[in-house]
């Protein structure tokens, strides 16, 4: 194993045993004595490495195995099979020692005590993590300032808004200045300004301390703003692991040219226009709107526009780039990327 790998995962697997109930009263009686168990693999043979200072976006649909794998990486769940090494330790075996070296934020779950003031929560965590006064002052004063939570410190958590609470959660997770940070949906439900603040803060932490960050989110703009690398999961397996840029250039190479025609058109009347251009028509959302999906090449784009304009009268024209969200939706629809994994 390479030493500069903060996270090393090899053939990681997690199976859950679940019982399926038989239908009807008779079935319920039979279940009582003889249950039908089925094994469901939430995570299947996952392997990847993360280097220090990387910011990795961890994405996948609900049930793709994101949460399960993150819980194995943080020592909450015990893997069924495979190897996990995080910060040089086996998370679930040396849990108490290991969790000192990580920070965790679960967007839907609070780390802070509901009834007491934020700073009292910080004090308790400081005790729990055994952080010295000097370390605390040096590090936390800066964190508190960058997240702009100074005025919130003496308020009880239950009186904070979601955005305020989330910033405090983040500060709490960084209290012991961990070299590795797991963020599970940290921006869920937050407004744009708070999101920006949190992103800037994470970038700053990453630059200042070389903090490694693993981020799961449904909001791809978070990933675009922060992560160079994405790991995509589907049905418990990695379907893409690599640079976000590459994902875009491999998949987002196409452009969409949207034409608004003056008269009604059909696929038959338009199809001949794209002959030999490796492009395709799709019907637009509005009346008389057709979209030509073309490769990102100036000759092709000019050719398509030229042919269409020469043949039909148009009232409007727009050129769109394919968004990351669309790329990812396409990947999920197709399953695996053109055999170009990794």
């Amino acid at each position: 194993m390479n030493n500069d790998h903060v996270i090393h995962v090899e053939n990681l697997r997690k199976d859950f045993k679940s019982h399926s109930s038989r239908p009807g009263l008779k079935g319920a009686f039979r279940d009582l004595f003889n249950r039908n168990y089925s094994i469901i693999s939430a995570v299947k043979d996952l392997s990847f490495d993360v280097k220090q200072g990387e910011m990795v976006g961890y994405i996948g649909e609900n049930g793709a195995g994101k949460s399960t794998s993150i819980k194995m990486l943080t020592g909450i769940l015990t893997p069924t099979n495979g190897e996990v090494m995080v910060n040089g330790m086996n998370p679930h075996k040396e849990r108490e020692k290991f969790v000192r070296s990580i920070g965790v934020v679960f967007g839907q779950r609070s780390q802070l005590w509901w009834d007491i003031a934020v700073q009292e929560s910080f004090k308790l965590l400081k005790k729990v993590y055994n952080v010295s006064d000097e370390d605390y002052d040096r590090h936390m004063n800066h964190v508190i300032e960058s997240l702009d939570i100074g005025p919130l410190l003496d308020k009880p958590v239950r009186k904070l808004s979601l955005g305020q609470r989330m910033r405090c959660e983040l500060a709490a997770a960084l209290l012991h200045n961990p070299p590795l940070l797991f963020l599970d949906e940290p921006t869920i439900g937050l407004d744009v300004l708070v999101k920006l603040k949190i992103r800037n803060f994470l970038k700053e932490m990453n630059e200042k301390y070389k903090t490694t960050i693993l981020l799961t989110t449904h909001d791809l703009t978070d990933i675009e703003a922060l992560c160079d690398r994405v790991i995509m999961l589907d049905e418990g397996q990695i379907i893409y692991d690599g640079a976000l840029k590459k994902l875009r250039s491999n998949w987002g190479e196409g452009k969409q040219i949207e034409f608004q025609f003056a008269e009604q058109q059909t696929k038959e009347t338009l199809s001949p226009l794209l002959d030999e251009l490796d492009s395709e028509w799709s019907e637009g959302k509005r009346k008389n709107v057709w979209v030509a999906n073309v490769v990102n090449d100036e000759n092709v784009i000019s050719e398509v526009i030229g042919r269409v304009v020469a043949a039909h009268r148009i009232t409007d024209i727009k050129i769109h780039e394919v968004s990351t969200e669309e790329i990812i939706r396409n990947i999920y629809e197709e399953g695996v990327i053109h055999g170009q994994i990794h």
């Binding site: 859950f16 609900n62 949460s67 399960t68 819980k71 943080t74 020592g75 909450i76 769940l77 015990t78 679930h92 849990r95 108490e96 020692k97 969790v99 000192r100 990580i102 965790v104 679960f106 839907q108 779950r109 609070s110 780390q111 005590w113 009834d115 007491i116 009292e120 004090k123 308790l124 005790k127 729990v128 993590y129 055994n130």
Partner: protein
């Protein structure tokens, strides 16, 4: 050392939280004390009708009941884990517990403590003093220390049994009514076990050793020498059961499935 520091920090935090709701706290203390007073009167009235129960006098039975209340109060203050399944497994709060560098059970004890339960000790002591003075018990200098050890042993018996029950949730998160039932069974330990049939006595001694919370340790203070063997086993059984329960808990944690999102 570190655990003690965290423990006291939690207690001070707990006090602070209670103090922020001054009126509430005052009302709560008042109602707790009132509840304990009613409890005390109730005990005296109920046992007023019993005279002799297979060789135990009324005052002896009252004394055992009083003793029982002390470890039970400590258990109630620190082992509020009857809703562990609901609160930590089903709602997934265990995830948060497991991301902190302190033993999971210790954290749950700290989070769930209810120090008000300790008022029950006052009632217990009052009952013991009342019954003890009527029985003319002699107290030697080391008896307070023995008392302390017996009380801790008894509290650990209770804690061990309930931690074991809570650990079941790691394997199966379906709801069971086992915990309320266990509170009922625990009450049998308040009475002299030789009034029960042999099987029940065996169960209360070795399987669900609730007898070590009430009657066995009390037998020492009541000077019942034929029961001394059991009496001195109290701390041993307490620590053994608690150790077993922590062992099972630790295995359970590795089986934790997490709450589904």
């Amino acid at each position: 050392m570190k655990h003690a520091a965290i423990f006291f920090h939690y207690i001070s935090q707990y006090m602070k939280t209670r103090l922020t709701y001054r009126v509430d706290m005052l009302m709560e203390i008042m109602s707790d004390l009132l509840f304990q007073a009613v409890n005390l009167i109730f005990i005296l009235v109920v046992f007023g009708h019993t005279q002799l129960l297979s060789g135990w006098s009324r005052d002896e039975i009252i004394f055992i009941y009083g003793f029982f209340l002390v470890p039970f109060a400590i258990f109630g203050a620190f082992f509020n884990i009857w809703d562990f399944n609901e609160r930590y497994i089903v709602k997934g709060e265990m995830d948060r517990i497991l991301t902190r560098p302190v033993h999971s059970l210790f954290q749950i004890i700290l989070e769930r403590m209810e120090l008000e339960s300790l008022f029950g000790m006052i009632t217990g002591l009052a009952v013991m003093i009342y019954a003890g003075s009527r029985l003319d018990l002699s107290i030697s200098w080391y008896d307070p220390f023995v008392f302390l050890i017996m009380v801790i042993g008894g509290a650990f018996v209770y804690a061990g049994i309930f931690v074991l029950l809570a650990s079941i949730s790691f394997w199966s998160d379906s709801r069971t009514s086992i915990i309320p039932m266990m509170y009922n069974i625990g009450n049998y330990g308040r009475y002299p076990v030789d009034i029960y049939n042999k099987v029940i006595r065996f169960i209360l001694t070795w399987i669900l050793p609730f007898a070590f919370v009430g009657v066995y340790p009390s037998a020492y203070f009541l000077g019942r020498e034929d029961w001394y063997g059991y009496a001195f086993l109290t701390p041993v059984v307490g620590f053994a059961f608690f150790a077993l329960s922590v062992f099972v808990w630790n295995i359970g944690v590795t089986k934790y499935r997490g709450a589904g999102n």
